[in-house]
Amino acid sequence: MAKIVFTRPKSMKDVVTHYCPGCHHGIIHRLVGEALDELELAPKTIGVAPVGCSVFIYDYIDTDFIQASHGRAPAVATGVKRALPDKFVFTYQGDGDLAAIGTAEIIHAAARGENITVIFVNNAIYGMTGGQSAPTTLVGQSSTTTPKGRTSQNDGFPIQVCEMLNTLQGPSMISRVAVQTPAQVIRAKKAIRRAFQCQVEGRGFSFVEVLSACPTNWGMTPLDAGKWLEDEMIPYYPLKDFRVPEGVQ
């Protein structure tokens, strides 16, 4: 009798996502689902989905969800967690959401060491609105609002969020991972699971940045996008465990 060694996580709904072909959101959603399953968190989970491509995460992950306004997920999650400290609360935010319009909310949630988990998906562009420049867009990278490429003179420099949050005392865990190869997917999964575990153990704010491809708005095939992520993004956004608490599984 054959044993199923890989299938849809229980905490994910059996539906097809709206994401474009090759978008990494689908992989990252699945990793969240796997971690929720393994730690048996789904029944006590409240997710917060702010504005962006991933606002529809509530259609795919089968837990309670709140749809928040652009950038405000960490504040909404704070309200939930303060009211229900024993429940599991996570946000799932893109780079436009978290690193531009929501900068104040993420920094202060991190500084407070708010006992929530943030999954930060960085694809260096605004996806849902059609490929505009993000705070994470690389210098030289073109977008619909930097058609000749981002210049530091006009547009400034991309924000390295993990490095920035790592200056704060509040966070218990900060990691940057990617999902462009199977090996990276396995690493990313571990980081997400560890971040969830941090919250379960009451260690305070845990943060995982996942570098992610947006083939549609980058104007590349999915496989080329993975290569571009490796060649261009990772050198500027190094994959690293910035902060790992001792003794967490």
Binding site: P43, Q67, A68, A75, V80, R82, A83, H108
Partner: protein
């Protein structure tokens, strides 16, 4: 046992909120409502509640939204510029059908304005305030006692309608001390909140709180649902108080601090033999159009008095609907009229009765 104490309006609101079961407060400092925030910081922890000073007004209102999603009784407070910042969150709270209480102790504007009392946020409060087709229930107390009493109503109605309720005071009410009988504390929520996101547990279906309706058909249905809710509010929960208005020929319409001044002016006018009265809206939304229209039909003429250059007067004119004249008198920028100034306005209208039928300045005849 009832307790009569001398309290500032801001503190009476805070104490009454705690007694009404509010256990979560998220806010940001701004004058003239700081005593409210500080009272909560001192006293919420004593009842195992949570006080958190947020990084911004935007942060505060979104924390309110998060706690509201769990079914908790939660509030925030601010003043003019801070309330403007909160509008995004208030729109989301209304769009997500969440109960929450927001207090605005009005200061002058536009812009940074000043910290003196005003009523210049009427439009913002009574017409929604943020983006989209929604309304807040707006309660307008005119005394410290009423501030305390209306907090209970605010939380109850927020729960009942799953809609944000704004308590609209001004710097005078927030800062002034008056004797107040504090309402008896209330335990627990009156309304069951099966919609709250508290984790799906063993339920087969997970819950979603959202204001996103991507299909126009569904979005319209939702907007119609909200509109029906506001009509129910108007039918069941329009509140006002009449003062010597029964036989009045000249009726002042004013709320909050302006209503207190009008009351004094009405008494002075009555002493002079002028049949003056007052209709004081307690709910600014839903607006008490019916009693105003009824009085207009009986031939009363109106004087709207506000601490602004004229905002509520629009709603009075809509209520009167051309049946009579509607004058306006207001002071702005933190200046508070003397009741004698209002009396002069009443006398002016009275003198026009015997002369021509010309409307008072700004009238809608």
């Amino acid at each position: 046992m009832t307790q009569k104490v001398l309290m500032k309006g801001n503190e009476a609101i805070a104490e009454a909120a705690i007694r009404a079961g509010c256990r979560f407060f998220f806010g940001y400092p701004i004058t003239p409502q700081n005593e409210l925030l500080e009272y909560m910081a001192r006293n919420l922890p004593k009842v195992d509640g949570v006080f958190l000073q947020s990084e911004s007004e935007i942060g505060a209102i979104n924390m309110v939204m998060g706690a509201a999603c769990t079914g908790a009784r939660v509030m925030t407070s601010s003043s003019g510029p801070g309330i403007s910042l909160k509008q995004e969150g208030i729109s989301y709270i209304a769009g997500s059908e969440l109960p929450a209480v927001i207090v605005n102790i009005m200061r002058t504007g536009p812009g940074l304005g000043g910290i003196a009392p005003t009523q210049s946020d009427y439009y913002q409060a009574a017409k929604g305030g943020g983006h989209g087709d929604y309304r807040l229930m707006v309660l307008a107390p005119s005394s410290v006692q009423e501030m305390a009493d209306l907090m209970f109503l605010a939380f109850d109605k927020a729960d009942e309608y799953r809609n944000p309720v704004m308590v609209l005071g001004d710097g005078v009410l927030g800062q002034m001390m008056e004797p107040v009988i504090l309402p008896e504390p209330k335990e627990g929520n009156a309304v069951e909140k099966a919609w709250a996101t508290t984790g799906k547990g063993n339920n087969p279906e997970s819950k979603l709180i959202t204001s996103l309706y991507i299909k126009p058909e569904e979005a319209e249905k939702f907007c119609e649902h909200l509109a029906a809710k506001y009509r129910t509010m108007a039918e069941k929960d329009t509140r006002w108080e009449s003062y010597r208005a029964e036989d009045a020929e000249i009726i002042t319409v004013a709320y909050g601090t302006a209503a207190r001044l009008c009351m004094a002016a009405v008494d002075m006018a009555r002493d002079k033999g002028i049949r003056a009265g007052l209709i004081r809206p307690i709910t600014l939304f839903p607006f008490p159009s019916a009693p105003i229209y009824a009085a207009a039909e009986k031939g009363a003429r109106f004087l709207t008095v506000e601490l602004s250059t004229g905002q509520m007067v629009d709603d009075v004119r809509l209520a009167v609907n051309g049946k009579s004249t509607v004058g306006f008198y207001g002071r702005s920028g933190g200046m508070v009229p003397d009741p004698r100034d209002i009396l002069s306005q009443i006398e002016q209208i009275e003198s026009e009765k015997t002369g021509t039928t010309a409307a008072t300045e700004g009238g809608a005849a």
